[in-house]
């Protein structure tokens, strides 16, 4: 290639500088535009997001499997070193749990008898979809994970995601073969809960730290460290009674809850399909009513 003559350079470089400055302003402006769209029209953003997530989930699925295998091997090696102490602890726990099982059987029978006496409406049945955690963005701004199950597996927006330990979060976005779970600790997460034996109502609000905060607790409520926190079922999104965690700190600055879920070993999530007419169905009902109204005016 020929080198450009001196005069061409003199003309080209200010032009180039202008063009690059313009491009920077344009793209920063576009980014701010996207930010605004994200706040006002969440539908478009969500659609795009789920489409992109659907595309990369198969890749993440493939990559995360060897990572899982590797971390599994490390876990196993670790557990070998403390087999005997663990065995002892498990035996003690087993003995204790057998007692609890007897109590649970008795209570279940009693509960069934009382329900039949009082003609109580039975809770809707629960079904589960089990999915692997394939993506964890990390960082300071979000607490979400991606799972490798989506609409085609029966996952729906708003469903609860649980591990064996307790509630982990809820489904925030659903693609065809992937879904995003908003964890309890995310800054956007709000879960209606009941606290302690007194079953005081409150809202568990995440703030991107490991210990979410209890908000809107009644003035008469007495909360102590160690109180159990479970879902209340209010709002109809989550089934009531899912274990969440224990109160870990009570201070002037607020009441903190330590979730039961082991975030580092959350490899598989169970998505609870709790067939209940909650807020999401309400949205559908409103939509249907509007459609009906629109059809009525057309006629």
């Amino acid at each position: 290639m020929n080198k450009p003559a001196g005069s061409e350079i003199r003309v080209a470089s200010p032009l180039k500088a202008w063009a690059s400055r313009f491009a920077l302003l344009l793209l920063v402006g576009a980014a701010f535009g996207l930010m605004l769209i994200g706040r006002t029209n969440t539908f478009i953003v969500e659609e795009t997001r789920t489409a992109v997530t659907d595309m990369v989930t198969p890749i993440l699925d493939a990559v995360s499997q060897p990572v899982d295998t590797f971390s599994g091997i490390i876990d196993q090696a670790e557990s070998f070193t403390r087999l005997s102490t663990e065995n002892q602890a498990l035996k003690e726990q087993n003995a204790r749990l057998l007692q609890w099982q007897a109590v649970a059987h008795r209570l279940e029978a009693e509960n069934a008898a009382l329900r039949s006496l009082s003609n109580m409406v039975p809770d809707p049945a629960m079904t589960y979809v089990t999915a692997r955690v394939v993506g964890d963005p990390g960082g300071a701004f979000v607490r979400t994970v991606l799972i490798n199950a989506g609409a085609r597996n029966g996952v729906e927006k708003g469903q609860a995601a649980v591990t064996g330990d307790g509630l982990a979060g809820r489904i925030a976005e659903v693609g065809q073969r992937s879904a995003r779970v908003l964890l309890l600790t995310d800054i956007n997460s709000r879960v209606p809960v009941v606290v302690g034996a007194a079953r005081d109502r409150a809202v568990l609000a995440g703030d991107n730290t490991n210990a979410p905060e209890l908000l809107y607790l009644g003035p008469t409520a007495k909360v102590q460290v160690g109180d159990r926190v479970t879902t209340s079922g209010h709002g109809g999104v989550f089934p009531p009674g899912l274990p969440i965690g224990v109160v870990s700190g009570v201070s002037e600055k607020g009441i903190r809850v330590k979730p039961f879920v082991d975030w580092a070993h959350m490899e598989v999530l169970r998505i609870v399909d709790y067939e209940m007419t909650g807020i999401l169905d309400f949205e559908a009902q409103v939509g249907a009513a509007r459609a009906a109204a629109a059809a009525g005016t057309e006629q």
Binding site: D68, P137, A140, F141, N188, A264
Partner: protein, 171 residues
Amino acid sequence: MRQEEGVWHRLDVVARSISPFFVTLLLVLLGLVPLRIADLSPIVPALALIGVFFWSVHRPDLMPIWAVFLIGLLQDLLTGSVIGPGIVGLLIAHALVVWQRRFFLAASFAVIWCAFMLVAAAALAVTWLLNCIALLAYVDPASLFFQYLVTMAFYPCLAWAFLRGQRLFQR
């Protein structure tokens, strides 16, 4: 035969010129893989920032500003955060490097690493501020600070790998 060589040569040139973009996209994906290590998730390094900075310094012709925008967009879409702050952060890192072009031309590795500390601090600070505004909430910057430190520590490793790759390509 000559024709074939021409095709291969052209493919080679294309592959070389788009590899920085695709490697940085790969870094975005890599940042999403769950590592199952306790307490690591909140402080994962900002890998895309490293990629964008490295190629803006060493091959600005192969990391144009629209590529930076696309990388930022994909990152914000995939991480599930607000769309925008991450893009602006990367664009600022790119713009700072382009602005100080002459300085980077003569700089040694250690100096570039020090410059990365400043550029990354500016980019992450802007990302944090915009996130706080978009979420209408105060996000605790503590984990971002640790994320920043981890990113600093990761830079030499990744830069070394990129330089190796570049030399391999140039042979």
